[in-house]
Symmetry: C2
Subunit: 336 residues, 2 copies
DNA sequence: TTGTAAGCGTTATCAA
DNA sequence: TTGATAACGCTTACAA
């Protein structure tokens, strides 16, 4: 590796001159020397050493991203958006998977600090909001919370999709199609986002003047298999349900499978709506009607907020609630 | 941030002593002082600064991962495996998406070097093997090539799935089911892996004493839409085809859709086999029979090879060709 | 217009 | 047993 020292001695100037020129910060350097420096740098294929630079500037141009699991099809879009945006703004991204495990979150938070990342985008585990506040309050570096809302501390910028409105969209659409008994496969009772969606479901059902029985609600964990279990259970509790909304697509996919297993058809016998609009939802049969989160935009926005924060630019507001959108495909039809 | 200096002055020893103790390299330090140092470090919540450490040790405990696109469902599994394994071995991972764009590959290679990563796992673009050799020969840091084979330079360790054998598995299975006219949706003609799979298709069809017409082969680009186009084209060229193998699952999914659009049934009219075993393949209808790549193992192995290389451990061999496996689901049946 | 020197937080060498 | 001190590659205040 060539260093500025090499260039300096080669050109016959001080390292200061070289440093200044290479950073476009020359106060007064002759054009001639400047060009000689630039040329020699190219010749020697000079690459600045970010470690050395970071040690003094306190900037590494690297951000950390903590998510539960890149294997969860909800995340690739977001991660891609974050990496794209970071790259565009001159940053790189260290990826960390926590499996929603608090210890791993703690571990990564520590490591990222040791590695001197300039900021962190954090998608917290679904549980124990309280412990998180504790955990995050210790972080000094810029931070943006993504997707999984953490209630409480308003000082940290947050980006998420308006789950309440999302369910409104879904329920209203089903009501238009004359459905009256609508089941709901919820996320975990402990999750903030899940609660939000559940609230949206309940309110919009009631606003439409329909019944809302607690036996129509099943608490799941966002996994495909759980969607299957949910349908078994819901249909057992009340065989007259004609539509089911799921708090995420994965469970909706499971639900559709189980409905078919029951010898029923989607959507003719039971209509299904998902949430997220992951890639898979386009390819199941029938294609899944779903409430889309603007994933790419979420990642992009989170990154912009983080980097603006890092670079001391103003942040207009802390809470960024993006609007979901209903994607109509083929898994919903009029009540039989 | 507390530094070893802080600890040293607090305890009343030299920074040397602190550094040694914290790194478990004490040659001769009294147990007493050692414990005092450790305790103070904990008290002050000391975290080592990797920039400073790296500057002198030439190690950052960070690796780079360059892939085309995390949004391609083939990659999340691999990326997860790499991150898991790296983390287990004390490393973190910087993720880079290149979109198979040579300029971006070059850019990231440079950046990763500047950031002083200890090594790089690289999944190259499908094209221009030649330019790559040029590109990679300049890299001095440890390197492992993943998935997309780069022919030529044998000095760089490679990890990939035996595509030839994969197609053998698929074709033989179709032959067992009495299929005689088997279409093939290939990857791009320029891609090394695609060529390998195509060769496997051709050889095994011939070995089974069947015909292999070039009109049964369609060259695609691994995308869903291309699978649709491929079926249109193939069925147009020869309506008697009773089975189709696709060089990846995404195109197989597209193929299945288009077959249905044609008013034909999968598998009763046309059987379909994919390649990769991405998550989606389980959820399409019928569930896709496919040739699985051991994705997790590939990521794990690549990471082990890289880190062993970094840490100067012996690498037994350079080429690591993993065996594919046929996953039988519901998209293949006996010829009608 | 240019150079000297201090300092960032570590590790490593050698002397005490 | 322990501690000065140099060094890593860079930026930056200040001096010339």
């Amino acid at each position: 590796m060539t260093t500025i020292k090499d260039i300096a001695s080669r050109v016959g100037v001080s390292i200061t001159a070289v440093s200044q020129v290479l950073n476009n910060k020359e106060v007064g350097i002759k054009k001639e020397t400047k060009e000689k420096i630039l040329e020699t740098a190219r010749e020697l294929d000079y690459k600045p050493n970010y470690l050395a630079r970071g040690l003094i500037t306190k900037r590494t141009k690297t951000i950390g991203l903590i998510i539960p699991d890149i294997t969860n099809p909800f995340f690739p879009q977001i991660v891609r958006a974050i990496e794209d945006t970071a790259n565009k703004m001159g940053y790189n991204m260290i990826l960390c998977n926590t499996d929603d495990n608090l210890d791993k979150e703690q571990l990564y938070l520590d490591i990222l600090k040791e590695k001197c990342v300039d900021g962190i985008i954090f998608t917290s585990s679904t549980e124990s909001t309280l412990k998180h506040e504790d955990l995050l309050s210790k972080i000094k570096s810029p931070l943006v919370l993504l997707d999984r809302g953490i209630t409480g501390d308003i000082r940290i910028p947050k980006v998420y999709t308006h789950g309440y409105n999302g369910l409104l969209l879904g329920v209203n659409y089903l009501v238009e199609k004359d459905h009256k008994k609508i089941g709901f496969i919820s996320g975990p009772e402990t999750s903030v986002t899940a609660k939000e969606r559940l609230k949206g479901y309940r309110s919009s059902v009631e606003e439409n003047g329909l019944e809302t029985k607690s036996e129509w609600i099943y608490y799941g964990d966002y996994k495909v298999e759980t969607g299957e279990k949910a349908v078994k259970e819901l249909l057992n509790r009340d065989p007259e349900i004609t539509a089911i909304i799921s708090a995420n697509d994965l469970m909706a996919v499971g639900a559709m499978r189980e409905i078919k297993n029951h010898g029923l058809r989607v959507p003719e016998d039971i209509s299904v709506i998902g949430f997220d609009n992951i890639q898979i939802s386009r390819f199941v049969d029938p294609a899944l009607t779903t409430i889309a989160q603007p994933s790419y935009r979420m990642g992009e926005l989170a990154t912009e907020l983080l980097i603006n924060q890092i670079e001391d630019k103003e942040i207009p507001k802390k809470e960024h609630e993006l609007e979901p959108k209903l994607i109509v495909r083929d898994s919903v039809t009029f009540r039989r």
